[in-house]
Amino acid sequence: MSILDSKIPEGPLADKWTKHKNEIDLVNPANKRNIDVIVIGTGLAGGSAAATLAELGYNVKTFCYQDSPRRAHSIAAQGGINAAKNYQGDGDSNYRLFYDTVKGGDYRSREANVYRLAEVSGNIIDQCVAQGVPFAREYGGLLDNRSFGGVLVSRTFYAKGQTGQQLLLGAYSAMNRQINRGKIQSYNRHEMMDLVLVDGKARGIIARDMVTGEIQRHSAHAVVLASGGYGNVFFLSTNAMGSNVMAAWRAHRRGAYFANPCYTQIHPTCIPVSGDHQSKLTLMSESLRNDGRIWVPKKKEDVIAIREGKKKPTDLSEDERDYYLERRYPAFGNLVPRDVASRAAKERCDAGYGVNKTGEAVYLDFASAIERYGKEKAFTSGHKNPTEAEITKLGKEVIEAKYGNLFQMYQKIVDQNPYETPMMIYPAVHYTMGGLWVDYNLQTTIPGCYAAGEANFSDHGANRLGASALMQGLADGYFVLPYTIGDYLSKDIRTGKISTDSPEFEAAEKDVTDRINRLMNASGKHSVDHYHKLLGKIMWNKCGMARNAKDLEDALEEIKALREDFWANVKVTGKSGDKNAELEKAGRVADFLELGELFAKDALHRNESCGGHFREEYQTEEGEALRDDENFKYVAAWEYTGNPRDAKLHKEELKFNNIELKTRSYK
């Protein structure tokens, strides 16, 4: 267990990061020119890390499976990014952001990491504005903020519903500057197939050129995995179609511990599933909960009438509606954290109050907000006695200015106008808090292999608060990793170029080609998607929003059987030496079939409920999550031993010196 040294610096919480930066070794500029770093993934974490590392003088190679670094899935993040700027003067501070994040994560994250995150959050906003990121502004020309779930201040910076896009394009522009200087070589449409270790250190990767099918060797002094999360293990999720766990899982198989795989975020506001051919789910930003009120009918007969099309939601009067979040959680209301909101929606739908055909949808209603904003707008524009129609018109304009693109997106998918009728929403898999275990320096248990952004486990504990993924991705990439990695690389200044002719590269390449050949030569009974969908069903039904020991035990067996069937009978058309989307999917699903089993094992071993991990056996009388701090106040880091179910558990005990552990309450 000694290997799990989190390397948290000594000293008071607020001084740790500064002290650490002062004490770690640096690499001088001349030596940086002789050091190569590989970055996998070009989202917020990878893109920003690559740009900063190149700017510092390292030779960087980036890899992404998309045709351009700009398309990484960070681009789809909608609502915003948190920063403790206290521009609104509502009492925000680094400590409050730290506190909210630790509490929001249900006391399962590392204090020192989260404090550092809060500490650099303000720099992120400064940096992005300097890069020309067009955040939303007020009429006075200063930056605007909004509020997100689980907090009582307005600290979220945003760019309409396209905050992720604007931040990612900022990181992409910083990358472009370095590509133009020749300091980054960007390998697009390339996928990392394996990690190469030489003398126990990460020294490169095997990649596949997805256009030509060529298998390539790339060496480096360090490898940074910023390859995102693994939500697609559920098949249906809000992730992009290509999002996958391959890079992280290959590293895990080579010795990197995988932490808390069962911590998955089910996001409460997504567009419900419409049919069997659905390929992905679409998120409606949490920012909508600033203004939308969530409800289901109070009476079953209204539910039935609505499902049969005999009644419309707008036919129901106020006292016929159950605003269940406001009822159960008066203090936070519709802005409770995501895990709480998701479970509450499931509870109502399981009780038979779901409002669509499948009974798996609740309403998100903007009528009150339209009225409120309309009145305010009429008043401020000198219109003292507006008619109802005028109020509605003005209110809709305000809502459109705030959420226009989200409303349009909803209308295009569902074919209903959310300005006129409430949106229907249901929880969906969105983000994975679990990931590769890293120490304070973001290094995995493999020396020289780092993990940043969603790919690591570090900052969100068992539940992530809204608008903190963008914050973490950019904090890791711009401000943490480029410095901590220097401490490691300072020992490598005399190493020289790493050869790709070594037996280690040879062997890793052979493993990759053997694996591809196995996939191409299976019996060919079922398509890759067939297996992916079956895996998704097992995951959603047995490892989803609520879990119990019996289901998880079943899931372990079912996933194992499915994996064996997959390797024997999957059908991959085409050739391996060509652009081949089926082969790309097959490789990813193969890894999901292993990860899924570890996921179930982790969920089964954690005999408590915390954050996004809800075990039916462990709940309060009111149906809230029941933590067991005595026995489970640790990070579960799993070591690969040849079979996911035989993974060996290593525990990192979490110490809370600055925050008192409490039952999380949003009442």
């Binding site: 740009a51 900063t52 045709d67 351009s68 670094p69 700009r70 398309r71 899935h73 681009i75 789809a76 700027k85 720099n123 992120i124 400064d126 992005c128 504005v129 300097a130 890069q131 020309g132 067009p134 939303a136 502004r137 006075g140 020309g141 200063l142 760019a159 309409k160 896009q165 604007q166 394009l169 992409y172 522009s173 910083a174 472009n176 500057r177 590509i179 133009n180 697009n188 179609m241 419409s274 049919g275 051919h277 659905q278 390929s279 992905k280 679409t282 349009q408 997106m409 295009k412 998918i413 711009y478 401000f479 398509s527 998607d529 059908k571 058309t573 085409g574 652009k579 989307a581 089926e582």
Partner: protein
């Protein structure tokens, strides 16, 4: 519904391609266009044939991966959406749908419906950034107020997803709308002023080198743009360019 798909098939950049007919049945209005292609591909795989390759990723209209010239229009018949947001309810039972890749000299076909849009990346690399180090030690974000209208217009230009529909819509395969959107984003902000002269010249130079055509002001790009990027950006870029070149 029952449809006939006419799809461009091409093995790789070196081979010639051709249109092939695929009948398809059981398509529902709630399916997205790409889910309809998923159904076709599932059938092709079942028959042991190679599925149709097309670019796609987020499937919510923001990554800019998906493309497709559908019945002659980039991203199909609807306005202000990408192909992945197009739903089959926009088509009728019995329709024949033609599906081709985006056509432009600067977008060579990679395979089937996939094209190489690396030229767009290279235009951005030529100058689509503010040269500020990522140290975080810049001035406070609120130290420089920005007029709200300018900030909003800058944002509107910055919502370009780089899909290439503007180029595919243009009879000259011009990339003026794409390039001008980036130039405008920075031109409208104080942070972008310092390098404005060099930026517009470098980006236009690269655009020309990539083999994109000239702009003849037909406005097709604006109509087909899934994000509604305005032609005003082209006018703004022309002004920036004139002023930059007259400065020498």
């Amino acid at each position: 519904m029952k449809l006939t798909l006419k799809i461009w098939r091409q093995d790789n950049a070196k081979t010639k391609g051709k249109m092939i007919d695929y009948p398809i049945d059981g398509i529902e209005g709630d399916m997205s266009f790409l889910e309809m292609l998923d159904v076709l591909n599932e059938e092709l795989v079942a028959k042991g044939e190679e599925p149709v390759e097309f670019d796609h990723d987020c499937r919510e209209g923001i990554c800019g991966s998906c493309s497709l010239q559908i019945n002659g229009e980039p991203h199909g018949p609807d306005r202000l959406i990408t192909t992945c947001q197009l739903h089959m309810r926009s088509f009728k039972d019995g329709d024949t749908i033609t599906i081709e890749p985006f056509r432009a000299k600067a977008f060579p076909v990679v395979k089937d419906l996939i094209v190489d849009r690396g030229s767009f990346d290279r235009i951005q690399q030529a100058g689509g950034y503010v040269s500020v180090n990522t140290s975080g030690n810049t001035v406070d974000a609120n130290a420089i107020p920005v007029n709200k209208q300018n900030a909003d217009d800058s944002f509107a230009a910055a919502t370009c997803i780089g899909c290439g529909a503007c180029v595919a819509a243009c009879k000259n395969a011009s990339a003026m709308l794409f390039t001008s959107a980036k130039v405008s984003q920075y031109a409208l902000l104080p942070q972008g002023q310092i390098e404005a002269t060099e930026r517009v010249q470098a980006m236009v130079r690269q655009m020309d080198e990539e083999g994109f055509g000239n702009c003849s002001n037909t406005g097709a790009c604006e109509i087909e743009c899934p994000k509604g990027i305005s032609l005003e950006n082209i006018a703004r870029m022309n002004r920036e360019y004139m002023s930059a070149t007259s400065k020498g």
